[in-house]
Assembly symmetry: C2
Homo-oligomer: 641 residues x 2
């Protein structure tokens, strides 16, 4: 399909926007009128700029409050239209968006609306231009695509067609199914926007909270599918009003926009194929399906194979000591590099202190931090190809004589995601001299989840990255109080939840998340949770080994006593071990404990899930954040002494 | 009245909150349960801390989902209550907030609710404790104070009373009038919160957007008045859930909270006196009225007498040159200091380059900037006393032999607000040697408005400052697009609008407002608008004098042509002079033009209002912000060359 985006979706001056749009690989651009008004160059110059950049001007927008206007204003409104037609011809675009009238005094009689649209269509048609009529969700009389199609059908003019915008239909919980019945050539243009589901005024929702497909909660494939079935072959365009996007770097944001369209096309194609197979729709012509992006299908992920920390000699020694106290064994040493392997249960942790390596440059930039995550995947080759087709950035580092090459792409924070195939046997034998006598002192079983801290304005970008490249799913956002502000968390999960990545952001300067970000000078891992089958045994061992556990106030346990039916002895045990507790509505239970942070940045969680508990202990995050703030102020006090 | 605030209204750890609350001058504090749970000290330690700080614990809150709970949970819920009663006795507070049940499976039968409340009251009463029952706006069955009073009345137990919260009534557009009919001693507690009017889910609105009285749009005096009439004599307490407050410095925020209560009390007292005088209510006993704060009444403001810029020798010379080109005369020189006076029409501008002065330290901190504003006021003495009683910070600087002393207070940005009384004749004669031959070359008449740039999180604080101390009014917030993010603007006005201060904020790093803030290292003046009666004559003169006017794109004028019935000649003239135009619904017209910024920070606006135009040209702010961004990037380019 021809992929397009509206200038209003990006920040910057008009040339900055156009350059970003071209660089991202879009085929076209909708010119939002204000961007043109505020630009010092002439419409002809803009036309030339787009031509030089290789992008088509797919639409000029918006033309407001026309049809059904007060009769004494009609002539004046037609004059206004002619002036905008002049402008369109200078710009070299033939299509204008006419959105449904919102004026309180506008007329709702269908015949008047039909006549007005036809009149405008005649004026446009006479100049070789076209009108795309769109229902705003807050239009005074017209706010559904069904009404728009009814009016367009009656206007019956070749220059008058339907313009669809997913937001206006889905925000009102409209059913897009009937779009399939509109002749494809009477749909002149399609705008796509996603949004989180918010219980608020629809106009405010639309103006501030739209986002790229895949970042919100609308069923956009369900909206696009009937459009494809209608036979529509025009542009698919993003029109995103979003406060964050207005301030985001336009190049990176435009790249996300293109990725979101590819993701949407894939989902739509899958949906159409499934519906065809199920016989719920008539077969879609292959030519229509083939317009849609078709990357290699997603592979199944099966947990974290290893994580790799970038360290130097000193921090590496220190972190190895921490891990040893947490029950890990020193399982191996790299054959040729300053890289060691710590192991326990199904958990492999690589500490990389090799100079002149990727890890080293990562360490230089961010200090001790997680520089790579290896995910186990059914088919690493197709997983890698999929990531590449979604514009993931492949990475190929130095490969020594005895080393394997594992396909990898850059995560949004610049760290690496290795894709380790099922076929990879003896992964560690090749690179490491393994210590056959290494025996972990603990019984931690696997990495349960890895929580990341990231800048507030990059959350949507991360979500889209994992959804598109790795086919992950995203949970709903939860908002949690830190003593110094709010923290928002949204968890990403592989299908079947074998890999879980809660993403944490904060817009306030002094929260735990913001402190982590400033220590990393960017984003980074916030904590890694290890699952086990007998938490108290693990904590006992860790305490004996001297692991510094995060101290939980006794008042928390008084409240547990009020909320749950625990006997006092068990509560004392929880309190003694600083164990936090949560129970979900289905009776699932979580027991978990945190370490203090390593070097004031990341920390570890030990947890035990019972009876199918699926969350992350959100009920306990506030008490954890308060305890972390106390540790920070204690460290700050020490540093001052 | 006893003035109180809930810990949830402030950021920080519990001790930080309590210290801030005491320092602000509150009499009491509501302990929000989570603040206690997350604190490592025992309830007894908190009790001692409050005693040491001289604040009473007025309330423990909340106790949720009790009345009408599923019958199989009642015994367990009573146990839970007894545990919380233990805690309250440790804390030394006798009152707990019980908010109406929100559980989907809770029972709504009034008799059950009455019985449950009475049962809880008996348990509480047996321990000398009391229950304040509150209707949450989103309660499952109970969401009005009328229902609460009905249930409390029927429960008929001395330990069970009504708890009122302004948000829960006013968010649902409830009428508070009937509160006056509740016996005052059956109202156990009153919580006050303001909020902007938002069309959104009431729970989300309540949890994130409450603000201090005077910062939002609720009629809080109208809510408090019937409470006073009921004979209530208990605490007046702030319970503010606000995302910004959760991250704001607690001491400054608590001070705002106390100021907001004083402001509310004054408004309520005025309302009650007016209602009594009008005979719409029965006379309120003097003892009730006298509980309410009564500062000196506000004085009438009558425009800006002068503004003062902090400069050094070099910047002073440069700014004087700018002002001269804008038509100002060099009207005088200070008798003893390096301070000069520029004058035109009714506008006086003081340029202060005196070393060892307030202006000098302001210049050192902020660079060339507005360091003082003198407002003309009917009675400067009572205006000053009012500001002081509202905890304004008086300022008294060095006074030389021939100088006047003018009462002044610090504005929120640390600059001074001088209060110049009507009686002050010959204000400038005393301090300045005036030049009798100085004749302005321009005809600018007066300062129309002064726009300020301030950090995003301080807007509410500024609004409250001007409302309380100076009795200003605040317009609704408008949101405006800068090419690099959003700008929000809220205008403050003296009654009769002789002084107008639009306040501008931006949460994005790269907007015009954020650039101004970083140049000031804090807040500062963004622009000063001068009004005149013949704008084209003034611009003509200014252009000839070499004033750099902000260049407006021609595309803007093409759009004006489409929107308004101007002839081409007039449009060409507007374009030639870079004049922006706006027309309001009543036919009021604004013509205005901007200079480029002085030293990349503040700039000047020349404007002419016609037919009673009252706004600030919001329709043109986006084009102005885009033009300013272009100037910035031009300057940045030049700086790089």
């Amino acid at each position: 399909m021809q992929r397009s985006i509206a200038t209003v979706s990006l920040s910057g001056t008009l040339p900055e926007k156009l350059e970003a749009i071209a660089a991202a690989g879009f085929d076209g651009v909708e010119i939002f009128e204000n961007d043109l008004l505020y630009y010092a160059g002439s419409p002809r110059e803009i036309r030339q700029m787009c031509a030089d950049l290789g992008i088509a001007i797919t639409l000029f927008q918006p033309f407001r409050d026309f049809e059904g206007c007060r009769r004494d204003r009609l002539a004046r409104n037609l004059d206004r239209a002619e002036r905008k037609f002049d402008l369109m011809q200078e710009l070299g675009t033939d299509l204008v968006l006419v959105c449904s009238n919102v004026a309180a005094d506008s007329l709702g009689d269908t015949q008047i609306l039909v006549d007005d649209l036809r009149l405008l269509g005649e004026r446009a048609g006479a100049r070789g231009l076209r009108i795309g009529y769109e229902a705003l969700a807050w239009g005074r009389h017209v706010n559904t695509y069904q009404q728009v199609w009814d009016i367009v059908r009656q206007a019956d003019h070749s220059a008058v067609g339907v313009l669809l915008d997913s937001f206006h239909t889905l925000s009102l919980k409209g059913d897009p199914a009937a779009i399939a019945d509109i002749p494809g050539d009477k749909i002149f243009f399609v705008q796509m926007a996603d949004a989180p589901i918010l219980a608020m005024d629809v106009l405010e929702w639309s103006r501030h909270f739209r986002c790229f497909p895949g970042q919100g909660e609308f069923d956009l494939a369900g909206f696009l599918a009937p459009i494809i079935r209608s036979g529509y072959t025009g542009p698919l365009s993003l029109e995103i009003f979003n406060d964050g996007f207005r301030a985001a770097p336009p190049r990176a944001n435009a790249a996300d926009g293109l990725r979101s369209l590819l993701y949407l096309e894939e989902k739509t194609r899958n949906l159409l194929e499934r519906q065809t197979a199920e016989g719920t729709i008539a077969p879609v012509p292959p030519a229509s399906l083939d317009m849609l992006f078709a990357p290699p299908a997603a592979s199944r992920y099966d947990g974290v194979e290893f994580v790799e920390f970038a360290v130097d000699g000193e921090q590496g020694t220190k972190l190895a000591g921490w891990l040893e106290r947490l029950g890990f064994a020193r399982a191996g040493q790299h054959r040729s590099k300053d890289v060691s392997l710590m192991r326990q249960g199904d958990i492999n942790i690589v500490l990389n202190a090799e100079p002149y390596s990727f890890a080293h440059s990562f360490f230089e930039a961010h200090g001790p931090s997680l520089c790579a995550t290896a995910l186990r995947v059914k088919d690493s080759h197709s997983a890698f190809e999929r990531a590449r087709e979604f514009k993931g950035q492949p990475y190929r580092g130095l490969v020594g004589p005895n080393e394997r090459e594992i396909p990898s792409v850059r995560a949004p924070d610049g760290s690496l995601i290795y894709l380790v195939g099922q076929a990879e046997n003896g992964l560690y034998d090749t690179d490491f001299v393994l210590n056959p006598n290494a025996t972990p002192s603990g019984n931690l079983q696997r990495i349960d989840h890895m929580a990341m801290a990231l800048p507030a304005d990059s959350l949507d970008s991360w979500v889209l990255f994992y959804k598109a490249l790795l086919d992950f799913e995203a949970d709903d956002e939860v908002v949690l109080p830190d003593p110094y502000g709010l923290v928002k968390s949204r968890a990403l999960r592989s299908r079947c939840s074998s890999v879980r990545l809660p993403l944490n952001i904060s817009e306030n300067r002094n929260t735990a998340i913001s402190h982590a970000l400033s220590s990393y000078r960017g984003s980074g891992v916030h904590h890694i949770a290890f699952a086990c089958d007998d938490l108290f045994a693990e904590i006992n061992r860790a305490k004996d080994a001297g692991v510094p556990l995060l101290d939980i106030p006794l008042n928390y346990y008084d409240d547990l006593a009020a909320r749950f039916d625990f006997d006092d002895e068990f509560l004392s045990e929880l309190a003694y071990y600083n164990v936090l507790y949560d129970r979900d509505a289905q009776g699932g239970e979580l027991f978990h404990v945190y370490t203090e942070p390593f070097e004031g940045r990341f920390f570890f969680e030990l947890l035990q899930r019972k009876n199918g508990y699926v969350g992350y202990g959100a009920a306990n995050v506030a008490v954890r954040l308060a305890a972390m703030a106390k540790v920070r102020s204690g460290s700050a006090r020490q540093a001052r002494l």
